[in-house]
């Protein structure tokens, strides 16, 4: 076994290097239901985290892993955005397929020595609680931190609290 390379923080100066054109508009080979996910990242003092990068990965609208082709101009199913100074971000994508539609999320920032990994469900509370991945949380109120709120048709709100009251559930990895 080769020994894994340790993680280090992304630091504060990644923006120009990691910014992708239209990174917040997730594309697919398939068509589907457009959704817009907005939120805000805050720290243990409730202050906005204005220098984070958020990546998302999800199934296609048909519920299969997104496929790509060499002729594509960008990856399918993958989103990458940076938070604004006020900690806010927006991802425009298509509703993922599956019984409990969700996006896998990785958060990078100064002060994060390794990425935080979590998930956001664009599904009802019951569907999320039935997801085997969340079995350990099925009866915990904390599962709510992984469920986006539908604010109007096609629009969802999901805030991320890195630390403190209402702290988002993050995954061990």
């Amino acid at each position: 076994m080769a020994a894994r390379t340790p993680s280090q923080t992304v630091g504060p100066f990644f923006h120009e290097a990691l910014r992708w054109r239209d990174g917040g508009q997730v594309s697919f080979a398939e068509s589907g239901t457009r959704v817009r996910l907005s939120g805000r990242v805050t720290d243990g003092a409730g202050e906005p985290v204005g220098d984070a990068m958020i990546e998302t990965w999800q199934l296609s609208p048909e519920g299969t892993p997104p496929r790509g082709n060499p002729g594509d101009t960008k990856p399918h199913g993958f989103g990458r955005v940076e938070t604004a100074k006020d900690g806010t971000f927006t991802i425009e994508t298509l509703l993922p397929g599956g019984d409990a539609p969700h996006l896998d999320v990785a958060i990078f920032a100064r002060g994060l020595l390794k990425a935080l990994r979590t998930r956001v469900y664009l599904a009802g509370d019951d569907a999320a609680r039935r997801d085997p991945a969340l079995a350990a949380l099925a009866r915990s109120p904390r599962v709510r931190t992984l469920i986006a709120t539908a604010t109007k048709p096609g629009e969802y709100r999901w805030d991320v609290r890195l630390q403190g009251e209402g702290e988002t559930v993050f995954f061990a990895l």
């Binding site: 923080t9 990856p75 002060g111 993050f170």
Partner: protein
């Protein structure tokens, strides 16, 4: 379950000596996912995503950037030693004076109009990558009095599965600042830290032009195979 006898490879979220971790590290226990949850095929990034020349950071000005020209190259493999092919590698770094070409960098050191410090490439069929650049300078930061970061290049590796996603930093051999850098020393296992230090490898450079450094990267083992073609 993790093997409790193996020291953690990655730093903890809370490492108080690195001040910014104090309010950004989760305090609640982390949720263990069923094994394999993130060991699934990841994003396929089309080759055209990195353009010709993006693996040479020294050719984007009117003339050469100031600094010691160097080649950094290596292999991207998984824990079983298998090459991670056709995978996106993104790097960024300070210029030779220790200044990032970034609006947020207020360090009192000059910008170099011939150096922006951004690079992208893909690994080849053997997992190899290669960049031409200049050696970055050290710079001071606000973490504690007289704090200076060791010279480093930031690396972002997409891998071929979500579990492989890694952002890290490459350091240079013999840098006296390594011993006192809270970010480098956040890695709990002292024996794992030197894996982030490149090795001088003269023959991987360009004779008469650029010094060669070798930096191999090992991502988490993945059963997944890349999608796409």
């Amino acid at each position: 379950m993790n093997d409790m006898t193996r020291p953690d490879i990655d730093p903890p979220y809370l490492h108080p000596e690195y001040r910014s971790t104090r309010l950004r590290s989760p305090k609640e226990p982390l949720l263990e996912l069923p094994p394999g949850t993130l060991d699934v095929p990841g994003a396929y990034v089309p080759r055209g995503f990195a353009r010709n020349g993006e693996n040479d950071l020294t050719i984007h000005g009117q003339s050469l950037p100031i600094g010691e020209r160097m080649v950094v190259s290596g292999r991207l493999v998984d824990e079983s030693g298998r090459p991670i092919r056709d995978s996106l590698v993104e790097i960024w770094q300070a210029n030779a004076a220790g200044r990032y070409d970034h609006p947020g960098d207020r360090h009192d050191a000059p910008l170099d109009p011939n150096f922006h410090g951004l690079g992208r490439t893909f690994t080849d069929a053997e997992g190899r990558y290669r960049f031409m650049t200049i050696k970055p300078g050290s710079y001071t930061w606000q973490n504690h009095p007289f704090a200076w970061r060791p010279q480093h290049i930031h690396f972002s590796l997409l891998g071929n599965a979500p579990i492989q996603r890694l952002i890290t930093q490459m350091y240079f051999p013999g840098d006296p600042l390594l011993d006192i850098d809270p970010i480098y020393n956040s890695i709990p296992d002292a024996a794992a830290r030197p894996r982030l230090v490149a090795q001088l490898a003269l023959e991987t450079g360009v004779e008469g032009v650029a010094l060669g450094y070798r930096f191999d990267i090992v991502l988490a083992g993945a059963q997944a195979t890349p999608l796409g073609i």
